[in-house]
């Protein structure tokens, strides 16, 4: 009996084990399906109408284009997507898979430098059945990730699997100038995928955002470090963007002779400061020839890399972990002495802005048919795909060397004669088109603000405009210029003679 009972118990124990195992397996399957379903329900299709400005005659806007992208629900009934999906928009709506209803939405925050944006939806019923997706960390190289989104405008969600192939700092093509951490995968990322989540173990590990035109199966995502920086930044109700310290450096201390010449110990790695940006936070702290060896607790190697997030990344990544207004401690050698100084992180943008801008109505001034605009990346890109080699030389020189060529601290930018609205008064001004303004009636032009006033300040009967690198000034008859000003505005249907840059 006792033997029987024993067996029975054993058997039942085995059965229980089997039953448990069965139930457990079933549970797992259900949870995975549910999670998969939750992810799919939380990924949304974004449709919008985008319209940019004409940067040569900025009172005009270019033709409208329809854009399609992806986004996903995050905490606080918000949608996270790429900035490029919703920049320069005039209208945006969301659609959930398997639902016909469209939900008009609004951009709450947009970070062009990190290509991220947060949308809100007017109709809160949109969030029924959705699930805020959680964020994970940086995935390991050679692990599998899944990309969710609506590539090429399809109505149904597409899920593709890929492998994380590389993690590095790279340029974000939305602005064409900012560089942050990116994760490369071999999952196909096509137009429309942008803004969709890249998942691993049920958590978001990135936002799909760009590919390479000439390469097959290379897609990039924005890692959660950058996403978190963006989310932290907007906590105060405003996006301030990434900051920097404001210096350029050279990675060449591999040379023992150079190390010796700069009086840096041979065993010490570091990078050499070449220049500090005018009016930057580093300007009073660093100088050319300083050798930076450490940023906060991170040692900088001769390639300018630090060990961070279990990866070897450019030292800028240390600064990327912080917000504007925070500071870092920089250790550097000068004249053989080691120094340690705090530098506050600030915007520190160069005098000639390299980054493409969005959601701003560009400024302009029209005087007697002469149209003045600031030199911006957007303006220069009017020269087409090969704009950097096709733009007039004076603009190319300034674009590449503005920080070396500018010696004036009060300068805010450069102003160019972008267009001439033909009239008798300006018949002979054609040769000055696309030249950069130096002075107007003797006053140096440091920004667009200076232009309108300087144009009307004619000391004698002439209005003279001097351009950089051009000996011969542009001459207008001052009286004629004032008389023809209003008729020209009317003839060319210009709503206002000027507009300063305005955030939309």
């Amino acid at each position: 009996m006792s033997y029987f009972r024993k067996r029975l118990v054993r058997l039942s124990a085995v059965c229980i084990v089997f039953v448990w195992a069965g139930l457990w397996m079933q549970n797992i399957a259900t949870a995975e399906d549910e999670r998969e379903q939750n992810i799919e329900q939380s990924v949304v299709l974004i449709r919008c109408v985008q319209q940019d400005f004409d940067y040569i005659t900025p009172w005009k806007q270019t033709s409208m284009v329809q854009g399609v992208g992806s986004g996903f629900v995050i905490t606080g009934n918000r949608i996270l997507t790429n900035a490029h999906n919703v920049s320069n928009i005039r209208y945006v709506e969301l659609k959930k898979q398997n639902f016909a209803k469209r939900y008009p939405a609004k951009v709450e925050f947009i970070g062009h430098d990190c290509d991220l944006a947060i949308l809100s939806v007017f109709d809160q019923s949109f969030f029924e059945g959705t699930w805020p997706l959680e964020f994970g960390g940086i995935p390991k190289v050679n692990t599998t990730v899944s990309t969710y989104g609506f590539p090429l405008g399809g109505q149904h969600i597409s899920v593709t699997e890929g492998v994380v192939s590389r993690i590095q700092m790279d340029t974000y093509s939305h602005t064409g100038a900012d560089s942050h951490l990116v994760i490369q995968t071999d999952a196909a990322i096509n137009p429309g995928n942008s803004g969709g989540p890249v998942m691993q173990n049920g958590k978001v590990v990135g936002v799909a955002f760009q590919g390479i035109r000439l390469a097959e199966n290379i897609g990039y995502m924005i890692p959660t470090t950058v996403i978190q920086h963006f989310l932290d930044d907007v906590n105060d109700g405003r996006y301030d963007s990434y900051g920097s310290l404001g210096f350029s450096y050279y990675r060449g201390l591999h040379n023992p002779g150079y190390k010796d010449y700069l009086k840096v110990p041979q065993e010490q790695d570091g990078v050499i400061v070449l220049r500090t940006t005018m009016n930057s936070s580093a300007e009073d702290v660093l100088q050319a020839g300083d050798v930076i060896t450490q940023i906060d607790e991170y040692n900088v190697d001769d390639d300018g890399m630090v060990k961070i997030h279990d990866l070897t990344l450019l030292m800028g990544e240390v600064i990327e972990q912080k917000q504007i207004g925070e500071s870092v401690e920089v250790t550097f050698f000068r004249d053989g002495q080691m120094r340690r100084e705090k530098i506050t992180i600030a915007l520190n943008r160069p005098i000639m802005e390299y980054a493409r801008s969005y959601d701003k109505a560009p400024g302009y001034v029209v005087f007697a048919g002469l149209t003045f605009v600031p030199v911006t990346r957007n303006f220069l890109e009017n020269w087409g795909r090969d704009w950097l080699s096709d733009i007039p030389f004076c603009l190319r020189y300034l674009f590449s060397y503005s920080s070396q060529l500018n010696t004036e601290r009060q300068r805010k930018g450069y102003i160019v004669l972008s267009e001439i609205l033909s009239d008798k008064v300006n018949s002979y001004c054609g040769g000055f088109k696309s030249q950069v303004v130096e002075t107007i009636n003797g006053d140096t032009v440091y920004s667009l603000d200076d232009v309108a006033q300087a144009c009307r300040k004619s000391t004698d009967s002439f209005c003279t405009i001097k351009f950089m690198g051009v000996e011969k000034p542009l001459i207008l008859d001052a009286k004629q210029a004032l008389e023809s000003h209003e008729p020209i505005l009317r003839k060319y249907q210009i709503p206002a003679e000027s507009r300063m840059e305005k955030q939309l």
Binding site: Y261, L274, D390, F393, S400, I475, Q480
Partner: protein, 498 residues
């Protein structure tokens, strides 16, 4: 057969015989030219601008020419630059006859070749260039092809125009032929009737051809004959740039009376050439040698009509005085301007450096080179758009403005990787400012600078703009340089002319 039909036949016969006689006139000229026209074959072996210690590929080129003396042949400079061997073929001999370059003038784009009398069966028959010009007249072109035939083409004189040669910065009088039946741009000789009036130097897709005019050719030949080869001074060239002054507001701004409608505006004055010492920026040139210059910079030539004022300068001889009347500071001024020429090598960034080796120094694998237009252009078709803008601005804005403080621009071209230049291997296209503490004002300074600061452990090279300082250990450098030379196949680590 009525009288009308007879007349028609007679007319047709007349036209036919006219054509025949025209054709036979052409044939007669062609026959006469057989001892004057030559085919020129050239072996060209230029230096490699980016590896200035070696030459690029040998190329076989050809052009045409014509005798201007019993043993002298005139051609253009196309294909003659960087020639290592020139030979000609003539109708009377089967074999190629060696020729040497006697005078080559890249400004006027003319070249005089000399033949050894004992290589020729007999002297050539020289062609005389006649300064005939008739707008709208039909002209014939002739050349001696490599097949041994005299070929011909025709066209009409459309205009006389002062044009910039693609070979140099100078501008010369061209006759422009329209409706040219053949592409002619290689010194084919053009005739107006029985007189040679010029040689072809360019052609376009619009069936136009440019001729170097008889005036320019005769000026060149007179200069070349009058002096030994080494002393050839060439043509006076402009030492300033001038632009139209058609804007009435600007004329008033320059305090010019309304009745004065002439004058061209001096927009920039160089440090070389005619007018560089006498003229000022913003001068208005009213007259040259008593001839009025209009607001487009043209004057009325008795033969050619309205042509650009540059001709009034290039037609003169170097050293002569040219009278300028200018409008300066609200009044007329008379200037005595010396007709000056200059050599491309005198420029801050030489426009060309044909027939010579680029100047450079290789030290520790760093290639320091003199900046020239040829160096920049070797980048390829879009060289102006892709060159570093700072380097390029020296060519674009300051090429004609050398000073005592700055005679050349020296660039670090690139670095030949070796252990000694670790960390610097991606540097290139940057302008050298100092070498061992010495300001680098010309390529020649490198030689002296290298001998400085001998107590220092390092050679130190500094650059313009934000660039690292290059530090090259002196110890064992000669041996390392020798190894670099051997590894990269460099015959000479330095070529700097004394």
């Amino acid at each position: 057969m009525n009288i009308r039909v007879v007349l028609k036949y007679l007319c047709l016969l007349c036209v036919g015989s006219c054509c025949l006689s025209a054709a036979s006139a052409d044939e007669k000229i062609a026959e006469k030219l057989k001892d004057s026209l030559v085919y020129v074959k050239i072996s060209v072996y230029p230096y490699d601008q980016y590896r200035p210690w070696k030459k690029a590929d040998v190329q076989e080129k050809s052009t045409y020419g014509c005798a201007v003396g019993p043993y002298q042949v005139l051609t253009t400079t196309y294909n003659i630059s960087d020639a290592t061997f020139v030979s000609i073929r003539i109708d009377a001999q089967n074999e190629y006859i060696p020729a040497t370059v006697e005078v080559i003038d890249y400004e006027s784009n003319l070249c005089l070749l000399r033949l050894e009398p004992n290589e020729l069966a007999g002297p050539l028959v020289p062609i005389k260039f006649s300064e005939n010009y008739k707008k709208g007249a039909e002209v014939q072109s002739y050349w001696f092809s490599y097949k041994g035939h005299i070929y011909s083409g025709r066209g009409f004189i459309d205009r006389a125009e002062v044009l910039k040669s693609s070979r140099s910065y100078a501008q010369f009088l061209n006759y422009v032929v329209s409706n040219a039946s053949q592409r002619t741009s290689s010194a084919e000789v053009y005739f107006l009737g029985k007189k040679a009036i010029g040689i072809a130097c360019w052609s376009s897709d619009e069936q136009e051809a440019g001729l170097i005019s008889a005036e320019v050719i005769n000026h060149f030949l007179a200069d070349a004959a009058g002096s030994p080869k080494a002393a050839y001074e060439g043509f006076p060239v402009l030492g300033f740039s001038a632009i139209w002054l058609i804007d009435p507001t600007r004329r008033r701004y320059l305090k010019m009376p309304e009745s004065m409608q002439k004058g061209v505006f001096v927009s920039d004055v160089y440090n070389l050439g005619t007018g560089s010492e006498e003229l000022q920026q913003a001068d208005i040139i009213l007259e040259i040698d008593g001839i009025s210059i209009d607001a487009h910079g043209r004057f009325k030539h008795p033969k050619f009509g309205l042509i650009s004022f540059e001709h009034l300068i290039t037609r003169r001889k170097v050293g002569e005085t040219i009278k300028f009347e200018v409008w300066r500071d609200g009044k007329k001024q008379q200037l005595k301007v010396k007709a000056r020429s200059f050599k491309a090598s005198e420029m801050l960034v030489p426009y060309y450096e044909y027939d010579s080796q680029p100047q450079y120094m290789v030290i520790g694998g760093f290639i320091l080179q003199k900046l020239t237009r040829g160096y920049l252009a070797a980048r390829g078709e879009d060289w102006a758009g892709t060159a570093d803008p700072h380097v390029f601005h020296y060519y674009r804005e300051l090429a004609y403005k050398p000073t005592d403080e700055r005679k050349d621009i020296v660039v670090l071209s690139y670095v030949l990787p070796a252990e000694i230049n670790l960390g610097y291997q991606r540097l290139g296209s940057i302008v050298v400012s100092r070498f061992n503490g010495k300001d680098i004002t010309s390529i020649k300074d490198l030689v002296e600078a290298r001998q400085l600061e001998t107590d220092s452990k390092y050679h130190v090279i500094e650059f313009e703009n934000d660039n690292p300082v290059v530090v090259i250990p002196r110890k064992g450098l000669d041996l390392i340089d020798a190894q670099i030379a051997q590894r990269y196949g460099i015959q000479n680590l330095i070529h700097i002319e004394p």
